[in-house]
């Protein structure tokens, strides 16, 4: 599991790669934290590019839920864009697409959040 900051004129883009499961969800939270701190009112939205994510377990969903609440409490906007089918299915079944704004493409996410 690794994170890499991307470049986008209108959003704070972070590419996520690998599996976010029971073992790596803590690392994911720690790596995401500095980006989350910048996700506050008036700043560009934080968009997580999930096209490199292979698997998200319930522990991973919990980490995302916590991130969403953190951002919301700061008045920031957080979204996820680009899904592999399996991950999209997880979000669909668990209805986490209702918890976190999910978009099929980066453009859609930027268009909606920025």
């Amino acid at each position: 599991m690794e994170l890499e900051a991307g470049i986008h004129p209108k959003a704070n883009l972070v590419m996520v790669r690998g599996r976010i499961d029971h073992g790596s969800s803590m690392t994911f939270s720690e790596l995401l934290h500095p980006h989350l701190e910048k996700c506050k009112k008036g700043n560009p939205p934080l968009i997580l590019d999930f096209s490199g994510v292979e698997y998200v377990s319930s522990a991973g969903l919990r980490a995302l839920m916590i991130a969403t609440r953190f951002a919301r409490n700061q008045g920031g906007r957080l979204g996820i864009a680009g899904f592999q089918p399996l991950v999209r299915e997880v979000f669909g079944i668990s209805r986490f697409d209702l918890v976190i704004p999910c978009f099929d493409t980066l453009e859609a996410a930027v268009g909606e959040l920025a």
Binding site: H22, S57, S58, A59, L61, R62, M65, I66, R69, I93, S94, R95, F96, L98, V99
Partner: protein, 716 residues
């Protein structure tokens, strides 16, 4: 109290793996080395030097000096000692006829001959008028006619017969003689003035053995003075003096540097000495072939040519005469042999030395090896440290033997090893003690962690029993129920887990089914699972006829104090077991399966499913409805089934669907649950389960009144 004081005093020395104590030992060792003459270490030192001489004694194949011995054979032939001096004079003249280089007499004649005119006339007054031969005059004439050297015995006081002044050849010193510290005597026992005057030279005979006090077994003669100071004047000993006479030199020379005598000898024949003028003699083994019996010489059995160009010593070799010394080689030799060996050494330049710089080098080696051990031993593994210690000792021994063989230098490796030993053992001892303490601490820690693990395991075991006890037993709870059958299975991935299921009657016709999966697994999830299950059970019973309201309240109740932000996916259904109408709510849970006859379908949840409970507070959960047909089987699962892994891939929904499509002879819920469980565990093939595994299966058989025969999905 005393023990505590002792511990307090010793603690700083033992700290840092004994380095302070070792440093202290090194300081003591340096002091001992500097003052070695006053310590029993000299025993060790002498024993070692003797051993080296024994291993390689001086070669005595050259025969520059002969001894004419007054031995048992001569005493038997010529009568008891002292012999008449005419006899001695004849002996000296016989030797002198062979033109030797010098004749040294290892004897002293302080009193007139008892067969001289004075003593005879004193005994026999009737001889008064008869002219008698004078034996002393005869001896004097013989001494004067040959290159003879008489002996003197230097004395510490002035006992009767001794005197401070006697004839002696000068010793020329190069360097300041007043600063030199040779052995100093008050006077000497010397021969009659007439004999002194006749002899070509006169020299010291003293060759004291080492004091037996420090060598309890015996006094060994190791050092011979080449010069000493008698009544303030430097006097040479017999060896150098005979050399002077042979070379017809005016004086014996002594080199003095910085108050230390360095060399003594004549012309180019000099030997290095100790500071006090003593020669450390390199002994050769006793050679009986250079001993000639005095009587054989007197009676002409030895051709005089044998003495040509040789040094001849006249001395005693009779067991009754008691003039014997012990050499470092362990031999008991006549005292005169020492003078012969000094002469041989002077001519060949062979001497053992122990110069000041060598002693300083020993000190430097002691300090550097000691500091090296102090630095290295505590850092090394004990086996390596022992090798280092042994290596240092072997290195010192090698230096010692090499120095002896190549330079005739007496390097004291034994004392250095003896002094380094305590340092080494203090260091290795403390290092081992510390290692032992650490090992014990590690053992204690291991024991403690085992105990802690056992305690945790015990507690987890108790937690597991409690968690399992929270779950209903569907095979026991519905005794006599004919409208439906239930089976369930829950298996946490660890001791405890975050899955739960529930099944209970809300009223005689309404069965409530619930399944839940708390995010994460293990102990944290299990605590939330226990609460979720209890709160759900209570709220569902409180609102038996309004499932959506119950779920909304459940969501609110669970979210209330949820700082850890856990969430729980759930599927909750209320089945009217009379009509088959099923009301259900899905909160982010995987859609359950519906097995109807041959078909395998999913319960449609997409339209009404909401996020997991607690994930999105205040979410308006909708409910849906579905009518079961008699014989329908409803299967609720958690992701422990679909996400079971064999290391390469997941069990997955496709595999589960195929499994459900297979005909099952006994179509009871219990059989189905067992079959799925087996399939999942077989698939994992012994790999540890990825997640908690929960299965709950309901078969609705229809209303009580129209009981259908038990259904199977065996092919028609």
């Amino acid at each position: 109290m005393l023990r505590r004081l002792w511990t307090l005093a010793v603690a700083p020395l033992r700290a840092h793996r004994g380095r302070p104590a070792a440093l202290l030992a090194l300081m003591v060792a340096c002091t001992a080395l500097a003052l070695i003459e006053h310590t029993p270490l000299t025993l060790l030192q002498n024993a070692q030097f003797d051993r080296m001489q024994r291993l390689s004694p001086r070669d005595r194949s050259d025969m520059p000096a002969l001894v004419v011995a007054i031995d048992e054979k001569s005493l038997a032939a010529l009568g008891q000692w002292p012999w008449p001096r005419q006899t001695l004079a004849r002996l000296i003249e016989t030797i002198g006829a062979g033109e030797p280089l010098a004749i040294g007499l290892d004897m002293i004649f302080p009193e007139p001959d008892r067969l001289g005119a004075a003593s005879l006339k004193h005994l026999y007054p009737q001889l008064d008028s008869i002219p008698l031969p004078d034996p002393d005059a005869a001896l004097a004439a013989a001494l004067a006619a040959t290159p003879s050297v008489l002996g003197v015995a230097a004395t510490h006081g002035l006992p009767p017969g001794s005197r401070p002044g006697f004839k002696t050849a000068p010793v020329i010193t190069r360097g300041n003689p007043d600063t030199a510290p040779p052995a100093s005597f008050a006077g000497a026992l010397a021969s009659l003035p007439a004999l002194e005057a006749a002899a070509r030279g006169q020299a010291l005979l003293n060759a004291p053995a080492d004091p037996a006090l420090l060598d309890p077994e015996r006094g060994i003669l190791r050092r011979v003075p080449l010069m000493a100071r008698v009544a303030g004047l430097p006097v040479a000993s017999l060896g150098p003096e005979m050399l002077r006479v042979a070379l017809n030199a005016p004086a014996v020379q002594a080199d003095i540097h910085n108050g230390r005598i360095t060399r003594v000898g004549v012309d180019e024949y000099t030997l290095p000495t100790q500071a006090d003028g003593n020669l450390i003699l390199h002994f050769g083994s006793f050679q009986p072939d250079r001993y000639l019996s005095a009587v054989d010489v007197l009676e002409g059995r030895i051709p005089p040519e044998n003495f040509r160009q040789r040094f001849v010593l006249l001395g005693f070799d009779g067991t009754g005469l008691q003039d014997r010394v012990v050499t470092p080689l362990g031999e008991k030799v006549p005292g005169v042999d020492i003078h012969a060996q000094v002469l041989e050494s002077l001519l060949s330049g062979a001497a053992l030395t122990r110069p000041l710089w060598l002693r300083l080098a020993e000190g430097a080696l002691l300090v550097s090896l000691g500091l090296g051990l102090i630095a290295a031993v505590p850092r090394l593994r004990p086996t390596l440290a022992v090798k280092l210690g042994l290596g240092s000792a072997i290195l010192l021994l090698l230096i010692g033997y090499t120095a002896f063989h190549l330079g005739r230098l007496l390097f004291d490796s034994a004392t250095l090893i003896a002094l380094l030993n305590p340092i080494f053992f203090i260091l290795i001892g403390n290092t081992l003690v510390e290692a032992d303490q650490q090992r014990r601490l590690a053992e204690q820690a291991l024991q403690a962690s085992r105990e802690a693990a056992a305690r945790v395991a015990g507690e987890l075991d108790a937690a597991r029993r409690i968690q399992m006890g929270l779950l209903p037993d569907p095979t026991q709870g519905f005794a006599g129920e004919t409208r439906f059958a239930l089976a369930a299975h829950l298996e946490p991935a660890r001791e405890v887990g975050g899955d739960y299921f529930d099944c209970f009657m809300l009223d005689p016709d309404h069965l409530c089914l619930a399944i839940g999966d708390v995010s994460g697994k293990g102990l944290p999830a299990s605590l939330f699972m226990a609460m979720s299950k209890s709160v759900a059970g209570a709220l569902l019973r409180q609102h038996p006829d309004n499932l959506a309201a119950a779920v909304a309240e459940l969501d609110a109740a669970l979210s209330r104090d949820n700082r850890e932000m856990l969430f729980v996916t759930s599927f909750i259904a209320v089945v009217n077991v009379e009509t088959g109408i099923m009301d259900y709510v899905c909160a982010g849970h995987d859609a359950p399966w519906l097995l109807r006859g041959q078909s395998v379908q999913r319960i449609p949840v997409a339209q009404t499913s909401g996020p997991p409970l607690c994930a999105c507070e205040g979410f308006p959960y909708g409910h849906a409805q579905l009518t079961l047909e008699p014989g329908d089987r409803l299967l609720l699962t958690t992701d422990g089934v679909t996400e079971a892994s064999n290391g390469h891939t997941w069990f997955g929904n496709d595999r589960l669907e195929k499994l459900l499509q297979e005909p099952l002879p006994a179509g009871t819920p219990a059989a189905l649950v067992e079959k799925i469980r087996h399939a999942v565990r077989d698939f994992e093939a012994g790999a540890p389960p990825a997640d908690d595994l929960t299965l709950l299966c309901l078969q609705w058989r229809g209303p009580e009144t129209a009981l259908p025969p038990p259904q199977t999905n065996a092919p028609a």
